[in-house]
Each structure stands twice: as structure tokens, then as C-alpha cells.
């Protein structure tokens, strides 16, 4: 599904060169739930951003379904992200001025879908995360766990093949964290959605199919 081929990411300033990722080779097969762990600053989020085409590697190649994305322009990358990928962020990143259902609809705005269909898909996604009764609320009226469920609904509304989650339970207490994790596992099992999750939580990582460990930008396990 996703294949990272010798990926490196180096940040350069005038005086310092920092290697965030060092020649990473990683293959995530379709339907796998993969977790990435490592200490802070080891390059987990950078790796996830590169897999999500939010950032470009300094060298190496990314292949999704065997297709290299090296020569994609900005518009093509945007389309690819819209159709194939869904994101869940640690701090939710919901738009405060939009209602819950409008937030969930967001990825569909960039597709040729009627407003009616958009509405019904967003309602179904909210139903799937158990928040159908909260669609008219605004983010500031929700708890942390509810916000993350809205974020999950937003990630799945476009039925992407891959979900990339950056510490989705990082800002939640253990009960809410478990709830969110259960939803992700269900998505993975029932819909065969490929999920790559960055986490600090060993307990959560153990619930996934495979664990990759990073240390100083290098894959160690």
C-alpha cells in the first residue's frame, strides 16, 4: 500500500544540518494497523507527514499502490491527499467557526459532490463515531474525546484508503483514549482501512498489528 524507499529528511540552516530521518525503508501493506513509537524528536511526526504528503523528503521515494508520487505537482498532491488519505491530529484541528457537521464535511468540499450528498455522508460519518446527536454543536461545546471523534469522522468521511493519525490519544485521558482507539481498530477491522499511528503510549501501540520504533531518525525495530 505505502512504500517508503530510502527516505531521508534533512533540515538545513546556514550553520546547522539536522537529520530528522535517515534512509528509512518502510512498507505498510493494505489493511495493516501500524504504530510508530520513539522518543520525542526522533522523527515520528516527520515520517508521518512525509507519508501523508504534507512534507517532502530530502531524498528517497514514496510509492502508494505502486505509484511513485515524486513528480506530482501541488494540485495533484492535493487531489491525492483528498481522495486517498485521512488525517487525525493530536490537537484535533477542528475549525472553531464551523459546526461539527460542517467540520466533518470539509474534505468533501474539494470534491465534485452535491451539498445534499455531502450532508448525508457527513451525517453517516458522525453516526459511525457515535456523535450523530452533536452535529449542530460547535467544537468549543465538545469534550476532548468528542472533538477527537469528530476529527475521526472528518478523516473517514471521504472513505480514504489510508488514515494517518498523529498521537490521536495524546491529549485524552485513558477512558477517552480507549474509546478513540476502539473506533480506529473498528475502522481497520471492518473497513480494511490502512492506519498508521504515531504514539507515545505503549498500551495503545500494543493494540495495533505492528510496531515500528525510531531513534534519532533511524528505524531501530
Amino acid at each position: 500500500m505505502i512504500k517508503l524507499d530510502n527516505i531521508s529528511k534533512i533540515y538545513r540552516t546556514k550553520t546547522i544540518e539536522t537529520t530528522a530521518l535517515n534512509e528509512i525503508d518502510l512498507h505498510v501493506p493494505k489493511g495493516e494497523f501500524l504504530s510508530i513509537m520513539g522518543p520525542s524528536g526522533c522523527g515520528k511526526s516527520t515520517l508521518l507527514n512525509i507519508m501523508g504528503l504534507l512534507d517532502l523528503p530530502s531524498s528517497g521515494n514514496i510509492l502508494v499502490d505502486g505509484q511513485s508520487l515524486k513528480n506530482f505537482n501541488g494540485k495533484q498532491l492535493a487531489k491525492f491527499r483528498n481522495e486517498k488519505l485521512g488525517f487525525i491530529f493530536q490537537s484535533f484541528h477542528l475549525i472553531p467557526d464551523l459546526s461539527v457537521i460542517d467540520n466533518v464535511e470539509l474534505p468533501l468540499l474539494y470534491r465534485s459532490i452535491s451539498a445534499k450528498e455531502r450532508r448525508s455522508l457527513a451525517a453517516a460519518a458522525l453516526e459511525a463515531v457515535g456523535l450523530a446527536n452533536r452535529k449542530s454543536h460547535f467544537p468549543n461545546q465538545l469534550s476532548g474525546g468528542q472533538k477527537q471523534r469528530v476529527a475521526i469522522a472528518r478523516a473517514i468521511v471521504g472513505k480514504p484508503d489510508i488514515i494517518l493519525a498523529d498521537e490521536p490519544t495524546g491529549n485524552l485521558d485513558s477512558v477517552m483514549g480507549d474509546e478513540v482507539m476502539d473506533i480506529l481498530i473498528r475502522l481497520n477491522r471492518e473497513n480494511k482501512t490502512t492506519i498508521v499511528m504515531v504514539t507515545h503510549d505503549e498500551r495503545m501501540a500494543k493494540k495495533t498489528d505492528r510496531l515500528v520504533r525510531l531513534y534519532d531518525g533511524t528505524q531501530v525495530a
Partner: protein, 446 residues
């Protein structure tokens, strides 16, 4: 998608109330003031009664007598010819300066030389410089009196409310009649009803009122005098000379003729004026009739230049400059405000891009938001303009002249505000649309 953007724009405007107030104030105030200024200028310079023929009027307020001084300069030089030094002297004549005597013209000049211009449809002669003090119940009233010929009523289409205007017979008979404005009627007689046949005492002479016209307060006195009297009632013998006197001539040209054609005809007519009259001051050898269009005359009143067309050009540039200033300043202000407003939403931009928005989507979204904001500002501006005009009209700042709301100008102004909405939104939106997604998400303001 657009409905989503509109919804978001509405909520963003509501969330940032102070910012919204500042932005809307800038837009609406600018638009409101522009509409009031335009309405005033339209009232003053528009083709409306009694000045409906404004674009066809050529005015001669000044007759110039001129003499030019010349210097003869001998240049003495020597050359060697066949070994002998000889003088080679040349004489050069240069213009050193001119003496000019400007004054209004004698009615005789107008009657004799300006009545039959080929491109003229009508010609009127008048004196509009006279003021009379009259007393009503012991209170002084200063009246702006216009002495004119009968043609005045054809050139200037005053709305006659009662009675009639005077005609050539009244002129010839030196009839002591007057046509007064509604304002004068109200102030002098205390009413505007049944004014005809009443008498108005001016400088010891009773003038019979034969008509009354609707007053339109304008800055130019001859457009809205307080009363009009046949000029044959003036003591014309007191005029300075054959050339100079008390009168202004207004030529109403045929509408199919360019003003310059008439101006040239006037120049030619001036050459026919004899320069050997005994009243001509010594040395003056040229007479020039200073012709100008109505707009040129108006501009000359604001910026005086010998060349009226130059005055008009300068006034046009000044107006254009003011208009640009009024538009550019709030646009820059909006751009500035929008940069900070959009910067605050960088993490939203990051999320949108992560979920598939490309640069064009982001630009479009913020431009839509800006257009909504400027449309709101436009509607408020319309309200401000209407309230200001009503205030000015009821306060009497412009006398009886009233400001009229101009729908066409409002539409133009409204389109203009949308344009500056787009412009002021585009630059910051373009800048932010290029934001790196990861950096944008790190802002984490949502």
C-alpha cells in the same frame, strides 16, 4: 462549497467583532462619503434645471485688451574680410512682455459681434454682480439681482411656478418688471402664493413681479439669482468704455458642435472689433474674448489660471487624486487587516490543505469572505450616504438645493468596493495559500 464559505465568513465576521467593525467602518464610510461628494457635484455640475443646457454653454466673462512690448536687440560683431575688419551687425526683435486689461464686457460688443455666430443656437447677455439690500419689517435682506435680456430664460430653463418671464418687448419698453425666485418670494412677501402683480422696492424703484421661478441654490450666482430684471433698466451710460462694461455673455451652442469650434468663432469675432475707438486706452492693440465652457468656468473658480482649460484639467486631476486617495487608503488598510486576520487562521489553512484544498481553493475562500465583507460595507455605506444626504438636505447647508441619491453611481461604487474587496483579499490570501502545511499546522491556533 460557496455556501460553506459564506457560512464561515459570516461566523468569522461575528467572532471578530472589533476587526469587523474597523473593516466595515472603513469600507462604508469611504463609500458613503464618495456618494455624498458625487451627489453634490452632480447637483452643481450636472445637467439639471435650470442648467440643463450646461454642456452646450460657452461663457465669456472677460474681455481682455492687450498690448505686447517688443525689444529690438542689436548684436554688433566684426569679421575679417580680405584682411580688413568690418562690422557685421544683426537686429533681433523679441517679445518682452504684455500689458493686459481684463474686465467684463460692454453689452454693445456682445450685441454687435456675438449675436450671429454660426454655431450658436442662442445668446444671452446679463449682469449678475449686483446685490440690493432691501428691508422687510426692518430686517435687511440682501438680494442677488441679475440684469438680463429675454434670452436668459431660453438658455437657463428655470421652472416657472407662477406668471411669466419678461420678453423682448419688456426689454425695449424698459418695463419695470421682475421675475423672482420662490426663496425671494418667501423672504420678501412671506409667502409663495399669488406673487404676480405684487411690487418689490429696489433702490427707490418699484418693480412689478410678473413671475416666480423655483429656487435652486447653486454656487454660481447667475444660475440661481434671487430676482431677474430686464437689463435695459440698468444705467448703461456709466459703462467704462466701448469695450468694457458690466456684462457676461453666454452662448448656447448647437449640441452637434464641439466647444472648440465655437471658441474659434469667438476668437474670429473678436478680430472684427474695431481698435480705433476713442475710448480705447493708449497703446492697446488687441482684443481677446476669454471664452470657456461651464466646467472650465467652475474649475477656474477653484483653481485660477489664465487658461481655463488648464484649470479644468487640474481640477480633474485633483478630483481623480482625491478619489484614488479615498479608495486606495481603505484598500491598504484592508490589506493590512486581512494579513493579520488570515495569519491567525494559518492552522485552518493547514487543515484545509491536508484534506485536499489546493492553492486556488484557499485563495477563492478568502476572496469570497472579503467580498461578503465589502458587500456588507457597501450596504452600510448606502445607509450612511442616505442619512448624510437627508441630514444635509434638511439642515439647509446647500440652501434650497437638494442632494439626490444617484443609483447609477451607487452601483459603480458598489462594484468598486467589490473590486477592492477582491484586491485586498487576494494579496494576503495568495501569501497564505503558499504556506507550508506542516508549519501551518504547528501554529495550532484551532
Amino acid at each position: 462549497m460557496i455556501s460553506n464559505y459564506i457560512k464561515l465568513a459570516w461566523r468569522v465576521l461575528g467572532r471578530r467583532k472589533f476587526f469587523t467593525f474597523i473593516s466595515l467602518f472603513g469600507i462604508s464610510f469611504t463609500l458613503g462619503i464618495l456618494m455624498v461628494i458625487f451627489s453634490f457635484l452632480q447637483g452643481e455640475l450636472g445637467n439639471n434645471a435650470p442648467n440643463s443646457n450646461k454642456d452646450d454653454l460657452i461663457l465669456i466673462e472677460t474681455l481682455r485688451l492687450q498690448r505686447i512690448y517688443y525689444d529690438t536687440i542689436p548684436v554688433v560683431d566684426t569679421v575679417m574680410l580680405n584682411g580688413q575688419e568690418i562690422f557685421d551687425t544683426t537686429m533681433e526683435t523679441r517679445r518682452r512682455g504684455a500689458s493686459r486689461w481684463n474686465s467684463s464686457m460692454n453689452n454693445g460688443i456682445a450685441e454687435e459681434f456675438l449675436q450671429d455666430l454660426p454655431s450658436a443656437e442662442n445668446v444671452t447677455i446679463f449682469n449678475g454682480d449686483t446685490q440690493h439690500d432691501v428691508y422687510v419689517n426692518g430686517i435687511k435682506l440682501t438680494l442677488q439681482t441679475l440684469y438680463s435680456d429675454a434670452n436668459y430664460w431660453q438658455v437657463f430653463d428655470h421652472q416657472i411656478i407662477e406668471g411669466r418671464t419678461f420678453d423682448d418687448t419688456d426689454m425695449e419698453n424698459v418695463a419695470q418688471v421682475t421675475v423672482i425666485s420662490t426663496k425671494t418670494a418667501q423672504e420678501y412677501f412671506g409667502t409663495t402664493d399669488n406673487i404676480v402683480d405684487r411690487e418689490l422696492l429696489l433702490d427707490g424703484t418699484n418693480f412689478k413681479v410678473i413671475g416666480m421661478y423655483q429656487d435652486k441654490s447653486k454656487i454660481i450666482p447667475f444660475i440661481s439669482p434671487d430676482l431677474v430684471i430686464p437689463y435695459s433698466n440698468m444705467t448703461l451710460a456709466n459703462q467704462d468704455s466701448y469695450y468694457h462694461g458690466y456684462f457676461t455673455t453666454v452662448i448656447q451652442k448647437r449640441s452637434d458642435v464641439e466647444p472648440d469650434v465655437v471658441k474659434n468663432e469667438i476668437l474670429t469675432a473678436a478680430t472684427m472689433i474695431p481698435m480705433d475707438h476713442p475710448s480705447k486706452p493708449e497703446g492697446y492693440n488687441e482684443v481677446i474674448l476669454m471664452a470657456k465652457t461651464y466646467n472650465e468656468m467652475y474649475a477656474q473658480g477653484i483653481y485660477s489660471d489664465d487658461d481655463a482649460s488648464k484649470s479644468l484639467n487640474i481640477m480633474k486631476w485633483v478630483l481623480l487624486g482625491l478619489l484614488t486617495f479615498f479608495i486606495v487608503l481603505p484598500t491598504l488598510n484592508l490589506i493590512n487587516l486581512n494579513v493579520s486576520r488570515i495569519m491567525e487562521r494559518s492552522s485552518e489553512i493547514g487543515v484545509r490543505k491536508a484534506f485536499g484544498a489546493h492553492q486556488g481553493n484557499i485563495i477563492f475562500q478568502f476572496i469570497i469572505e472579503n467580498i461578503i465583507q465589502t458587500i456588507l460595507g457597501g450596504i452600510l455605506g448606502l445607509g450612511i450616504a442616505i442619512v448624510l444626504m437627508k441630514f444635509i438636505n434638511t439642515s439647509g447647508f446647500l440652501g434650497t438645493n437638494t442632494m439626490v441619491f444617484n443609483t447609477k453611481f451607487f452601483i459603480y461604487s458598489f462594484l468598486l468596493t467589490i473590486v477592492f474587496g477582491v484586491v485586498s483579499g487576494f494579496l494576503p490570501a495568495y501569501r497564505m495559500s503558499k504556506l507550508n502545511i506542516v508549519n501551518a499546522l504547528k501554529e495550532n491556533k484551532i
